[in-house]
Amino acid sequence: MSESASAGFKAKFYWATSELGAVNGDVNGSLSQAEIDVTTRGDAGWKNFIPGLKEMSITLNSIDPKDGTGAVTIAAMRTSFVAGTKAVAKMTDEDGNGWEFDCFITKFDWNQPFNGPLAYPVSLRVCGAPRLVGTGS
């Protein structure tokens, strides 16, 4: 029996159809679900819950690419943020399995560290249900 794990740096993040290759930190996708307390006296001293609403958000960090497709992708994300428009984005592993979703940008920072490259920390809010691509995440 063999075991393997996918390396994070091989994963992909796409804004529309363009891969953002200038990612130089973690890309974190968070899926969560609210819990609704429905405990009654009939639960014999144990709390009881039912699942509530689900949500998904993504955070990532990209350096400022001076040219190439990375610069185009960052520019497209900036345009979307300024216009307040949604886009289709996708995060997958190296084999193309993961999530695709409609989203908008809730944070588009521009960091100018004195001892490092310019960077864009970005936060995304997923709208509605994300869609599995490939075999999913």
Partner: protein, 141 residues
């Protein structure tokens, strides 16, 4: 790579080369004694500069492009008999020429260059010197 880029940067700064001895490189006399080999040739005159790789790490890069922090040391050595004034002056000029300056490194896109202020050293057999440690943050091209 980095050591050659550093040599190319320093060898055209006359304020530095005027303080150095010369050496016969590939039959050409009168060339500033700036070496990218360690140790330097035994027949070199002093003051002389020796630039050599000191490793680094791969803690920089993106998903699409590998990168690295590359280290090199620029050593300015003098004669046993010579006072420290010249090599100290040369070492500070090296620092000024490199700290947060642009640098063209073949095969890489340079993001940033840092140089640490000169540190006094002794090679163990009495030759005085100063070293300037350099780190270049680069992306592979």
């Amino acid at each position: 790579m980095l050591v050659q880029a550093l040599r190319d940067k320093l060898v055209v700064i006359t304020a530095i080369t005027n303080l150095l001895a010369t050496y016969k490189f590939n039959g050409t006399t009168g060339t500033p004694a700036i070496f990218t080999i360690n140790p330097m040739p035994e027949d070199t005159a002093y003051p002389a500069i020796m630039i050599y790789d000191t490793g680094g790490n791969s803690n920089f890069g993106t998903r699409s492009t590998i990168g690295a922090n590359i280290n090199a040391t620029v050593s300015v050595y003098g004669n046993k008999q010579r006072d420290w004034t010249t090599i100290k002056q040369a070492a500070w000029l090296v620092w000024r020429a490199l700290e947060r300056q642009s640098l063209t490194i073949t095969g890489f896109s340079t993001v940033m260059v840092r140089a640490q202020p000169p540190k006094s050293i002794n090679d163990g057999i009495g030759f005085p010197g100063f070293v300037v440690e350099v780190t270049a943050t680069v992306l592979d091209r």
